[in-house]
């Protein structure tokens, strides 16, 4: 039976995990909204944040703080380059776009395997030390990770609702053709969305690596969680992805605590199947 302590652990750890997952999936959802492209390379952007940050620390001699920023910006720049080189030419062909992003993810995974090896690498934490909450030990790193993710999500929502570029993104995702008619360059909007999404995913990856570790295997594994989240939240709904990130965060934490990490993929699949049977458009999706 779950004791009160267990519940507190699930609540605390699940919230921090949920915050990081939200950073990753809201970008995935934004890209889908603007272009109807399922970006299978998103898990790769997530993990690359950590590996770029680690490289910046060891080769440029940066501290942990600056390395986080360098890591996430490097992912954004790489995503922009990859977008113009590979995704943009096929973006009107939905299945080719998926195939291309999946191939990109596997190329990045293989490069990380070759350069960094197949084992997980730990990332030095921004903050060390722990805090006791109702007899549950939680590291400061988890708390700061949650604060950073929540701040980034708030910044994102301000950007989307208050700035012109953000509103262009919303316009393009609501109706791409109408958006083009009123003079919005949807290709540029998609490039910008790619950049923002990759930066957010990269930030999520750096934070994740500081709490757990960086491992090339997560490139595909995080995709499972991301898909469970976007299907639960409703494909294309940013609000839905953020809320369901926390729900999935709690479920995953509970699964890992009671049954072990090896069951987390299986549980994600069951969640997806259950939602598709009961409520295919998710919690916040629009019924089509």
């Amino acid at each position: 039976m779950a004791s009160i302590t267990d519940l507190i652990i699930i609540l605390l750890y699940g919230t921090t995990l949920g915050g990081i997952l939200a950073l990753m999936t809201c970008g995935f959802t934004l890209i889908f909204g603007v272009s109807r492209i399922l970006n299978f390379a998103h898990g790769a952007f997530f993990m690359l944040g950590a590996y770029f940050g680690l490289t910046a620390m060891s080769y440029l001699g940066l501290g942990t703080g600056p390395s986080v920023i360098v890591g996430m910006l490097a992912v954004g720049v790489l995503a922009l380059i990859l977008y113009y080189l590979t995704v943009s030419p096929v973006r009107h062909n939905e299945s080719m776009a998926i195939i291309v992003t999946l191939a990109l993810a596997l190329i990045i995974e293989n490069f990380i395997f070759l350069i960094f090896g197949e084992y997980g690498i730990t990332y030095p934490s921004l903050l060390t030390g722990t805090l006791d909450v109702f007899n549950v030990t939680i590291t400061y790193m988890r708390i700061i990770a949650l604060v950073i993710s929540l701040l980034s999500l708030i910044l994102l929502s301000v950007f989307i609702s208050k700035t012109r570029m953000g509103m262009e993104i919303v316009a393009a995702s609501q109706d791409p053709e109408a958006a083009e008619l009123i003079g919005i360059d949807t290709n540029k909007v998609l490039a910008l969305t790619m950049f923002i999404s990759a930066v957010l995913a990269g930030l999520g990856g750096v934070l994740y690596a500081q709490i757990y570790s960086a491992n090339p295997l997560f490139i595909l594994k995080t995709l499972i969680y991301a898909f469970a989240i976007v299907i639960l939240g409703g494909l294309g709904s940013v609000k839905g992805s953020i809320i369901s990130s926390f729900i999935i965060g709690y479920i995953l934490t509970a699964t890992i605590m009671f049954y072990g990490a090896r069951w987390s993929e299986f549980v994600s699949l069951l969640i997806i199947i259950a939602i598709l049977i009961v409520r295919p458009y998710g919690l916040f999706g629009v019924k089509e």
Binding site: S95, L223, V230, R262, I272, L276, I277
Partner: protein
């Protein structure tokens, strides 16, 4: 002029048959002239052709992007393997299979195919009634989940290394016999797929691919036909998976995994989606590229300190082809052939 176009179409139809027969004849006569390692590799290539062509049925002809074809390969493979080595099932609810008489190889391949088909049916019913994105998302994560399952049930499924089924359960005792058996299996599968595509069923599949709303409006129940297409394709994947296990005598998680999926996609993209003969040619090129030609190239590149492996090269080829020739080489060759014939006809007239 109308008659000429009709003749042109007839010739093209024949062209595909001729090319396929030519491939079969060449493959049937070359074994005495090539080393036995290559014979072994080509035999596996034939089974890989079944994977590529059956994937083409759902993705190329019905227009539904299936990213989990390898799951059905793996289901067929592990089913066949466990039926031959039922001792591994000890301690599970399926223990009773061990006490039953031994099942012939051909029957267990059929059972593997049927189980894969049923699983395809279930996944199809859940996901194919929704928009195509859901199908792609769910099929994409199935391989990851199934690889994890082989690791979790390590005692039965053998973990990362898989398990061997023993020499006595081989498709045939010698390599050359295995080669011809898999050639025959490939020929039968491709012919059945071609018959399906030429039938009314195939026409409905293509109607769904070309314009799903139009297909719906003329009374085609698109969900049912998408599910049928997916189940047929899964059945062939399961049979081929079982045949691969009997060919190489080992059931291993690589049959479930995404790299094999990408090889299948690459074969069909090289050959051209929705052409059937294209994927046959593409599969031969890709399988030999991966297991023979790149085996020599990659050590040279790593010797020069270039961090690269065969998979990276294949995936880069895939991206380049997807951008430059999304319709595949078969269509390119056919266009060339068409223009040659048209110039001939024009030359005759003048």
């Amino acid at each position: 002029m109308k008659l000429n176009i009709y003749e042109l179409l007839k010739k093209q139809l024949k062209l595909e048959t001729y090319v396929f027969i030519a491939i079969l004849v060449i493959m049937a006569v070359i074994p005495p002239f090539i080393p036995s390692a290559l014979i072994y590799l080509l035999g596996l290539t034939f089974l890989f052709i079944i994977l590529a062509t059956s994937w083409d049925l759902t993705t190329g002809y019905t227009g539904q992007l299936n990213l989990g074809h390898t799951v059905f390969v793996g289901i067929g493979a592990y089913t066949a393997a466990l039926l031959q080595v039922p001792e591994r099932l000890a301690g599970t609810p399926l223990e009773f299979i061990a006490s039953m008489p031994k099942i012939p190889i051909w029957i267990d391949m059929l059972i593997g195919g049927i189980l894969a088909g049923i699983f395809g049916l279930v996944i199809g019913i859940i996901t194919l009634r929704l928009k195509g994105w859901y199908f792609a998302l769910v099929t994409a994560i199935l391989p990851l989940v199934f690889v994890e399952i082989t690791l979790v049930f390590r005692e039965v499924l053998g973990g990362e290394e898989g398990f061997s089924i023993g020499f006595e359960n081989a498709l045939a005792p010698t390599t050359i016999e295995k080669y011809y058996l898999s050639l025959i299996l490939m020929a039968i599968s491709v012919i059945i797929l071609q018959i399906i595509i030429n039938s009314k069923l195939g026409l409905r599949f293509m109607a769904i691919r070309d314009d799903i709303d139009l297909a719906e409006s003329i009374g085609i129940d698109t969900t049912i036909y998408k599910v049928i297409s997916f189940a047929i394709s899964s059945f062939f994947a399961g049979v081929a998976g079982a045949a691969i296990v009997h060919y190489r005598l080992i059931a291993c998680p690589d049959l479930f995994d995404i790299p094999l999926m990408l090889l299948i996609i690459l074969s069909v993209v090289i050959g051209g989606q929705g052409t059937l003969i294209g994927p046959v040619i593409g599969a031969i090129i890709v399988y030999l590229l991966k297991h023979w030609w790149l085996k020599a190239l990659v050590p040279m590149l790593t010797y020069l300190y270039i961090p690269i492996n065969d998979d990276i090269i294949l995936y880069m080829i895939l991206i380049i082809l997807a951008i430059l020739f999304p319709e595949g080489i078969w269509m390119k060759l056919k266009d060339l052939y068409k223009s040659v014939i048209v110039t001939k006809i024009v030359a005759k007239r003048t």
